[in-house]
């Protein structure tokens, strides 16, 4: 039984539960499921300065979402620490060979230790990946008005054209980056 709890979930459990979370937020308080708005709420709370984009009452429109994000952190602890899968993620043999071919040798954990560790911040590549990557995630999702949750699930489930455009854009750019930028970051 305990072993069962540590096992990863198949797609047909994971996907439907994501859909249920999105529907639950509508039922609770008519809130659209989305996570990237939290970066905006955090900016509005911490450092709004005189920027119009951050001059709104975040306690009224954003508190629910910040609480939701706090829940994600707790859930990450439950699923990623208490119920952690002791095995490396079971990606396909093809993915394994592909990434090994790029020079990746450690497949344990949720993120490759080779790329994501505190010491990496002392290297240019590490700063580009971790700080630069975070910057573009924040900039891009704010610009697009949503991320994989808000556009990829909520917007698509509501058949909204803007969300389809954004989702195609981030999958296309993601594939390009994985094929052409990632090799530069891993090698050397």
């Amino acid at each position: 039984m305990l072993e069962l709890l540590h096992r990863p979930w198949p797609w047909y459990v994971t996907g439907p539960l994501l859909g249920l979370v999105a529907a639950a937020l509508l039922v609770i308080g008519n809130k659209p499921f989305g996570v990237s708005s939290n970066f905006r709420h955090l900016c509005a709370a911490v450092f709004p300065r005189n920027v119009a984009f951050f001059k709104y009452d975040w306690t009224q429109s954003g508190l629910w979402n910040l609480v939701f994000a706090g829940g994600i952190v707790v859930g990450g602890f439950i699923g990623g620490v208490l119920l952690a899968n002791p095995e490396p993620v079971a990606i396909t043999a093809r993915a394994h060979a592909d990434l090994a071919g790029l020079g990746l040798h450690d497949f344990t954990g949720l993120v490759p230790h080779q790329l994501f560790h505190w010491g990496a911040l002392l290297t240019l590549k590490g700063v580009l990946l971790i700080l630069g990557g975070g910057f573009l995630i924040g900039f891009g999702t704010a610009y697009a008005g949503g991320c994989t949750s808000g556009h990829g699930i909520t917007g698509l489930a509501d058949l909204q054209l803007p969300s389809l455009i954004a989702t195609v854009a981030f999958f296309a750019a993601g594939a390009l980056a994985s094929h052409f930028l990632l090799p530069l970051l891993i090698s050397g």
């Binding site: 994501l18 996570v35 970066f39 900016c43 439950i78 990623g80 620490v81 008005g145 699930i153 980056a177």
Partner: protein
């Protein structure tokens, strides 16, 4: 412990529901980690077209969410706050923000292998350096807000 009473009935309703949002977030965080959507390896597998897992997750999430959203809206169901449930529409405009913003986010997603939801889950899963990435995302959001009047939308 005494806390200041909320000033309006609407504010009181909002605060009463905060535990429900927290619970939904906890569930989402567990789904993200147990479903391996926090795994950099899973994201690379999908974006390098080496496996179907992420696509199966997305497709099945939509297969569940789409009819549920329709049902909630068509049946004019009210949320626990008494509002008629409606997913707010995103304005299409000239659509450029979705192309450019989506592409910029995608570029980072393709190497960093994490989107906003998983960033918060990874923090909880004990990957401390992700905190720097979240600070980076706040900085990126701030710069977007600052440049917003000058950017094509």
């Amino acid at each position: 412990m005494t806390t200041a009473a909320p000033s309006t009935p609407a504010a009181a309703a909002r605060e009463r529901l905060l535990p429900a949002y927290l619970a939904a977030g906890v569930l989402f965080g567990i789904v993200l980690t147990k479903g391996e959507l926090t795994s950099w390896f899973r994201i690379q597998e999908a974006l390098r077209f080496d496996g179907l897992y992420l696509y199966e997750v997305f497709a099945s999430a939509l297969v569940v969410a789409m009819p549920l959203f329709r049902l909630l809206e068509r049946r004019r169901v009210r949320s626990l706050t008494g509002e008629l449930i409606a997913v707010p529409p995103k304005a299409l405009g000239r659509g450029r923000r979705y192309v450019f913003g989506g592409a910029i986010f995608g570029l980072a997603w393709g190497v960093a292998g994490a989107c906003p939801g998983p960033l918060f889950a990874l923090l909880g899963a004990g990957v401390g350096v992700i905190a720097v990435m979240i600070l980076g995302a706040m900085a990126g959001t701030w710069v977007y807000g600052y440049l917003r009047p000058t950017l094509p939308h």
